[in-house]
């Protein structure tokens, strides 16, 4: 059981480039989330999904897009990267909402220069 996996671990982008951050979970969880963590700060929710084909915006969705075609995968797309998107990105999953805890992936450290 790998849990939540993310690729890549590190990435440097130039301003204006695009990329997709991959997230996969093997726990058969319905709910998946993307957060970003800026230095010295807590995590902020970007997007979340309650099941395949269903996504919704979180607190800081601008500049990002998501899709959820399968239960296992929840990729995050950055279009036209900007320096403000330099951050560590964490994917998380949970069995459901309510009392179920979220399990976090190892993170992707992204630098935009």
């Amino acid at each position: 059981n790998a849990g939540v996996t993310q690729t890549p671990k590190f990435r440097i982008l130039k301003i204006g480039q695009s990329m997709t951050l991959q997230c996969t979970q093997d726990m058969n969880h319905n709910y998946m989330y993307w957060y970003r963590q800026d230095p010295g700060m807590g995590l902020k929710l970007i997007y979340y999904s309650v099941g395949a084909g269903i996504t919704d915006k979180g607190e800081v969705p601008n500049g990002y897009n998501v899709s959820r075609s399968t239960t296992e995968d929840f990729p995050l797309r950055l279009e036209l990267a900007a320096p403000s998107q330099t951050s560590v990105y964490f994917c998380a999953s949970s069995y459901a909402g309510g009392p179920y805890e979220q399990y976090f992936g190892p993170g992707t450290r992204l630098t935009v220069t």
Partner: protein, 112 residues
């Protein structure tokens, strides 16, 4: 808008001492989570608190929740160096699938 405030944000303490980290939140919620993060690592779940008066303990850490005061505490007993980390509290704003709102974290250093 839900706000989550932790204090202190930074804490340096000696081994063997006791201390408490506080987490206040601004709107009604009955779900509060504590996570630990080591430098450069992901988040590790410590406690899930689901009701008023909930208390959970694991080793030298004990967490409690007072939903009426909108306050959770994480108490460290007889601290050891291995507990050095950043601790986050997070609150779920509603009963649905909304993600968590995190505090800024408490950076804890325990010196031998």
């Amino acid at each position: 808008e839900l706000k989550v405030e932790q204090n202190p944000l930074f804490l340096s303490m000696q081994e063997g001492k006791n201390y408490t980290i506080y987490c206040n939140y601004s709107t009604t919620s009955d779900r509060l989570y504590w996570y630990r993060q080591d430098p450069g690592k992901s988040l590790e779940s410590l406690f899930v608190l689901l009701s008023n008066g909930a208390v959970k303990q694991e080793g030298r850490l004990m967490a409690s929740l007072d939903t009426k005061a909108r306050l959770s505490t994480l108490h460290i007993t007889a601290a050891v160096h291995d507990l050095s980390a950043t601790y986050f509290c997070a609150v779920a704003p509603g009963g649905g699938a909304d993600g968590l709102t995190f505090g800024k974290g408490t950076h804890l250093i325990i010196q031998p």
